[in-house]
Symmetry: C2
Subunit: 339 residues, 2 copies
Amino acid sequence: MTKIDINNNYWVMDSMPKDNNFFECFKLLKEKSIEVPEGFILTKNIFLSMDAGTRMIMTDREDSYLPPTPIGEKITGTVLSEVVVSKNPGFLPGQKLRSWGQWADYSLIDPESMFPSIVNDTEIDLINYVGILGANGWTAYVGVVETGRAKKGDAFVVSAAAGCTGLLVGQIAKIVGCKVIGIAGTDEKCKLICDSYGFDGAINYKKENVSDQLKELCPEGINVYVDHVGGPIAEAVYENMALFGTLAISGLLDYYSSSKRSPGPKNYDLILMKRLRVEGFFSPDFYHRENEFNPLLKNWIAEKKIKLPFQTTKGLENLPEAYLKLFEGGNIGKVVVEV
Amino acid sequence: MTKIDINNNYWVMDSMPKDNNFFECFKLLKEKSIEVPEGFILTKNIFLSMDAGTRMIMTDREDSYLPPTPIGEKITGTVLSEVVVSKNPGFLPGQKLRSWGQWADYSLIDPESMFPSIVNDTEIDLINYVGILGANGWTAYVGVVETGRAKKGDAFVVSAAAGCTGLLVGQIAKIVGCKVIGIAGTDEKCKLICDSYGFDGAINYKKENVSDQLKELCPEGINVYVDHVGGPIAEAVYENMALFGTLAISGLLDYYSSSKRSPGPKNYDLILMKRLRVEGFFSPDFYHRENEFNPLLKNWIAEKKIKLPFQTTKGLENLPEAYLKLFEGGNIGKVVVEV
């Protein structure tokens, strides 16, 4: 154990959020030193990745896919950072890495459990390693190709389409050869995904009847849906699924902030009537496949088939504002905090 | 077109059933002749197969997997019958066949659309062709092996376990090497499936807390569930699924009689949290695979690994009573009407 004298600001969970009251529940604290155990590394954070899925570690639910962050503990998430102190022979000071870490100036990383991956790339801006070349890109790939099994000619729909994973999902579905419809919450987002990201159509769920629009845009039914939201949007999609269609569930934003359970779609029986496949998937299950996904994704970046806009919030102290964007439709593309 | 003079009693749909008031909705009529068009065959029914899934063609729902039987028309279902008149070179009088047909003394069969299959077997009682060697057996096989992808050592659960398909599902899951738990509605059924059909455990959902019992019987979680009922039993199963488990949906008895939609399970979000696969399947999708399934199933019959009890109601006029059993928990094994 080595004690490192260092000024570290860090966010802790002061209480469990109800709905999305992050300003009340996150608390910024300071410390003057960090203990680095044998085998661990200490890194200086450059970018903190804001991901809606981490909402599930801010809940009392017993059956979340990851255990909750205990009250008073540092809040965690994916970070892009630089090694400052290494007590592990696999890492050297100065190396940049993407890893699970803390929402703080510095991250203390246990390489055994926190998936650090050295990023060493002179061709692509390293920020992409918390975007296309990170969990969002892998999730999009798995959602379209593996869980979704999308094929050329399929009618393909994605919700939260202007969000980071949604934008990537839509672009990968276009690469596969699908007709791609995005569902988003503003006219600006709908225009953007069609004009700049190659979507074939878009539905503004706040203004339009989603089911009617889907019927018009996918008259032969939807073959693949990548869901990020659940709730009434998912119900409208179920209504319009084609026989033997697939619903690949990547997120259920509608449920994240409720400590109580929300019911499944009222037309759940369509799973039987239409012989649908509904399947959940979750990026930590395929973190170990980075070396398989990233060469593919880098080729697509080079071929200009896939791109991702970043919304960068500067300053650790402004983090709650950045995080809230994910839940209030305020973001287009990837939200990061630059420390 | 040939007109055949014949006394035929037949059931028609007099009104659409609400809940399960079949005695009011089915009406027995008589006719003295039947027109047999070119290409069709007329058969004398021996056994009528009673199947809960046909409840879905007795509904106003627009999105049932099969279109509704129009009011005033003959009610249809699977029959085992003998060819009386053939206007089709593929069929000869005297041949026995399993086919889609009518709930009547005679069936008028269009071989193009009604899946007739000649049954010619001297080793096995032909009634098995509307049981193990028919849609129930194929559904059970697909549910366990293909949609369910059950493996040796899996914790396997089936609802409506003493019903025809449920009994077959449980026995096939045992052949695969699973630990098999059946959910049924009487102590008698629970005892029977364990004592006579090899189930490892049973839960009486009318007397026991299904979720608590599943927790005790499947402490490491359920790997595969073949669902015949939906509703609260399915919710208790969701609660106890293992990570990456499968819910193969073969039926949703809880929803069949409601013209309104019933919501999905309140813990639908577990599909994401546990990365579950939920998939519907439906026997007409694999009717064409009889020659693949039946040799397997016949071997298992010969090896005494699979068997099926029949509950036979005699007399066409007693059909509503037999059909009602499927929805009120009155049956063990296969219900047939002997004409």
